[in-house]
């Protein structure tokens, strides 16, 4: 299971970010959110959320074995008792969808709100969906900049934008 994104539909409203921190942390803060929306010129919006890779580089990178795959759901879970906050998983993640918690010395990431991701529910344009697929979702794990570049091509945006005299 993973939250996947239809980037063409995202409007950049960041309701996903807002509800994520509120549900998981009891307050509203981008820095506490497990999903982050980045906006690129000229108006491309790219939500970044853990792809729950099957072959997960974050798990491989963790020297404490603090990251593990849940047997049943195949979600990547952070074991807070083992995590020492070294940040090697963040470096290893291709999409930078793991974050250092600003108030605790551990990392945190999307764990699908216990099976009912609130971001998916609130997204007003259905840009997010919870899917179970038979292939390795790591193909979704890309850097925001890379996705933005792909979207510029998808929207056929001009290389040279018009400006003033």
């Amino acid at each position: 299971m993973a939250v996947v994104v239809d980037y063409k539909l995202c409007t950049g409203c960041r309701l996903c970010e807002t509800i994520c921190s509120l549900v998981n942390e009891g307050k509203i803060s981008t820095a506490l959110s497990r999903i982050r929306v980045y906006s690129f010129s000229p108006g491309i919006d790219v939500p970044i959320v853990c792809a729950q890779c099957e072959k997960a580089s974050c798990i491989d990178a963790c020297p404490q074995n603090a990251l593990e795959k849940d047997e049943k759901t195949r979600i990547v879970i952070v074991n807070l008792e083992k995590c020492v906050g070294c940040g090697l998983c963040i470096e290893a993640c291709p999409s930078k969808a793991i974050f250092m918690h600003p108030e605790r010395n551990t990392v945190f990431k999307c764990e699908l709100c216990g099976g009912k991701p609130q971001c998916v529910e609130i997204c007003p344009v259905n840009a997010l969906s919870l899917v179970k697929v038979s292939f390795d979702t790591r193909i979704f794990a890309k850097k925001a900049e890379e996705i933005a570049e792909e979207m510029r091509e998808a929207f056929m945006l001009p290389r040279e934008e018009r400006s003033h005299a």
Binding site: K8, L9, T11, G12, C13, R14, L15, T18, I19, S21, L22, V23, E25, G26, K27, I28, S29, T30, A31, L32, Y38, S39, F40, S41, P42, G43, D45, P102, I122, P124, V125, F155, M156, L157, P158, E160, E161, R162, S163, H164, A165
Partner: protein, 618 residues
């Protein structure tokens, strides 16, 4: 003690002395009386501005005020930018969406109040509790898009939010805007010019903190219900698909669309500017401000032709109306490029469309010749000349220097013949609704606190439907119930502006849900009646501010064109506004408001609204 919604601090920055102060929000003002946003801004300008100061002097203030629901899960919230306007000399509050408001809150501030004037160009950098005044000499002269990119690059963080001015703000063009998130603007009243007068190029913000919520469960429930209500609302649905652009066919059909400097009220080429055309040929995706389910923003691309390579969010109705129809331009690609120029150079598209249309009429009437226009042929519909003129206005070159003063001052300098078609109220250029076929709108314009403005009250929907809010039947062209409708809408809008919730969601969300969210987020115990009373209180306070600045009853008037030139074609052909109609509505309106016959709030009203402690002599 504030319990949630608010983040608790107000940041004061004095640019003259490079002094930075922090005040606890609850020590600064009474949140129960003014809530935040416009309330906080009106309180600040009333308390801290001396009467009669020059808006461009260091004595003026620039307030960035958020509300207790800004940046939360409440559908669509923004930030209020307030100052004494260089166009009107009156109270001015202009709102901008995007994500600046949320960022200011996450940085820990409910408001940022900027005073004084820097000697050299600077920008303000707010990174949580670290506040710096930085050199901006290398940024001076650059357009708004470049500024945003450069500051983000310098900080190595593309999520930094930037409010900045273009060349127009630097040159003190009286209707210069403040630009945010590339395509969002606090457009009206010249807030960007005030920023320019302070030598302040930008305000850049990064916040990593949190907005506390008093009762998370209850707040979530209320907010989700509000989102559901918005997504089910028919008007909101239409806006979600077509943005504000869909309005142009409506106004063209109803003889409300300003055309060729408000001479006509319907435009033969309106369909070329319609949402239907933009959707097919121009738009590529939807865009939204913080936490907004409506996404009325549309990103568009011009693919070919003379304006190929134009990428801009829009085109909003007001721009289509004022730069399109009002200048006689029926080519959406030209309007899109003009829109882009205004965004980059820092100009309000409503005022810009007005001054260009005014110049076009002056040119056609022989008041301006090619000597003054430096060879520009300014006949209506000449899109190339209009586009050239935008650049000239932003840089105050040639005729642009005169038009940069706004239509009121330009007409006073030019020739007494042109005053009758200088389309403004109290110095603020009129937006996209002709009043000759809408008596209610004329009352809304003349009584709006910031001058000719459509956002405080928009009684048109009641006039067209023929039903007042209480269900009684009203005639479209009569004055019945208008005073009552306009007062109620102004109070509601103002209450909404304290939160600072977007006008486009107001009807769908409704006062009860707003109050529910506010109480749950902030731990307050406001009733809907009290919430509306806050709106009325603030409306009276901005009134008192304006009176202190010299506003008189005579100023609550419209240009002669509204009373003298009948609509030449369309559904309301032959209609014009009667002076007696406006006078009648004004009398009724003042009485409804508890103001005297000159529009001054009576002592009892001031006391009833608990404003007496702020007003000496009551």
């Amino acid at each position: 003690m504030l319990r949630g919604g608010y983040v608790g601090k107000i940041l004061k920055i004095d640019l003259t002395n490079e002094k930075i102060d922090i005040i606890r929000t609850e020590n600064y003002f009474d949140v129960n009386l003014f809530i935040g946003g416009k309330g906080l801004a009106a309180y600040t300008l009333w308390k801290e501005l001396n009467m009669g100061i020059d808006p461009f002097s260091e004595n003026n203030l620039l307030v960035f005020a958020t509300g207790p629901l800004t940046g939360t899960l409440c559908p669509g919230t923004r930030v209020c930018i307030a100052t004494k306007s260089p166009l009107t000399g009156l109270f001015c509050d202009s709102y901008v969406g995007g994500h600046l408001g949320a960022e200011i809150k996450m940085a820990g501030y409910d408001a940022v109040i900027i005073s004084g004037k820097s000697e050299k160009p600077v920008y303000i950098w707010i990174h949580d509790e670290n506040v710096e005044i930085c050199n901006a000499e290398n940024l001076w002269g650059l357009d708004t898009f470049r500024i945003e990119e450069m500051i983000r690059k310098e900080k190595g963080d593309m999520t930094v939010r930037v409010a900045c001015i273009g060349p127009a703000g630097e040159k003190l063009v009286r209707f210069a805007h403040v630009n945010v998130d590339r395509y969002r603007q606090a457009g009206r009243g010249g807030t960007g010019a005030v920023m320019g007068s302070k030598n302040l190029k930008a305000l850049a913000v990064k916040g990593t903190g949190a907005i506390p919520i008093y009762n998370v469960e209850e707040f979530m429930e209320k907010a989700k219900e509000a989102h559901r209500a918005v997504l089910e609302n028919e008007t909101a649905k239409a806006r979600k698909r077509w943005g504000t652009a869909r309005t142009i066919i409506f106004t063209a059909d109803q003889d409300l669309l300003p055309t060729r400097n408000f001479r006509e009220a319907t435009f033969e080429a309106a369909e070329n500017l319609s949402a239907e055309v933009l959707e097919k040929r121009f738009w590529i995706k939807h865009r939204a401000c913080h936490s907004c389910p409506i996404n009325c923003g549309k990103l568009g691309v011009v693919r070919s032709g003379r304006y190929a390579g134009t990428v801009v969010e829009g085109i909003e109705y007001e721009t289509l109306a004022l730069i399109g129809a009002n200048c006689g331009i029926g080519n959406y690609e030209a309007v899109a490029y003009a829109n882009l120029l205004c965004d980059m150079l820092g100009l309000d598209t409503i005022s810009t469309g007005n001054v260009i249309a005014f110049a076009m009429e002056c040119y056609e009437e022989g008041i301006l010749t090619e000597k003054e226009t430096e060879g520009l042929k300014l006949n209506f519909g000449n899109e190339e000349s209009a586009i050239r003129l935008i650049e000239k206005i932003a840089r105050r070159e040639g005729l642009g220097n005169l038009l940069a003063e706004g239509v009121k001052r330009a007409s006073e300098k030019l020739n007494s013949r042109c005053r009758r078609f200088a389309m403004h109220v109290k110095g603020l250029e009129l937006p996209g609704y002709d009043v000759r076929a809408s008596p209610g709108m004329s009352l809304a314009y003349v009584t709006a606190d910031r001058g000719g403005c459509h956002t405080r009250s928009w009684p048109i929907s009641y006039e067209i439907s023929g039903k007042a809010p209480d269900g009684t039947v009203i005639d479209r062209y009569s004055t019945e119930k208008r005073a009552c409708i306009v007062k109620r809408q102004q109070d509601e809008t103002t209450a909404c502006d304290t939160l600072v919730a977007c006008w486009f969601l107001k009807t769908a969300v409704g006062n009860e849900r707003y109050v529910g969210m506010l109480n749950a987020a902030a731990g307050m115990k406001l009733t809907v009646e009290e919430f509306l009373a806050v709106g009325e209180r603030i409306w009276n306070l901005t009134r008192l501010f304006n009176i202190r600045e010299g506003l008189r009853k005579e100023d609550e008037n419209l240009p002669d064109r509204a009373f003298e030139d009948p609509i030449p074609s369309g559904i309301a052909k032959g209609r014009k506004l009667e002076k007696s109609q406006l006078e009648h509505m004004l009398r009724e309106y003042y009485a409804n408001r508890g103001w005297d016959e000159n529009g001054i709030p009576r002592r009892e009203k001031i006391k009833q609204l608990k404003l007496d402690s702020l007003v000496p002599g009551v």
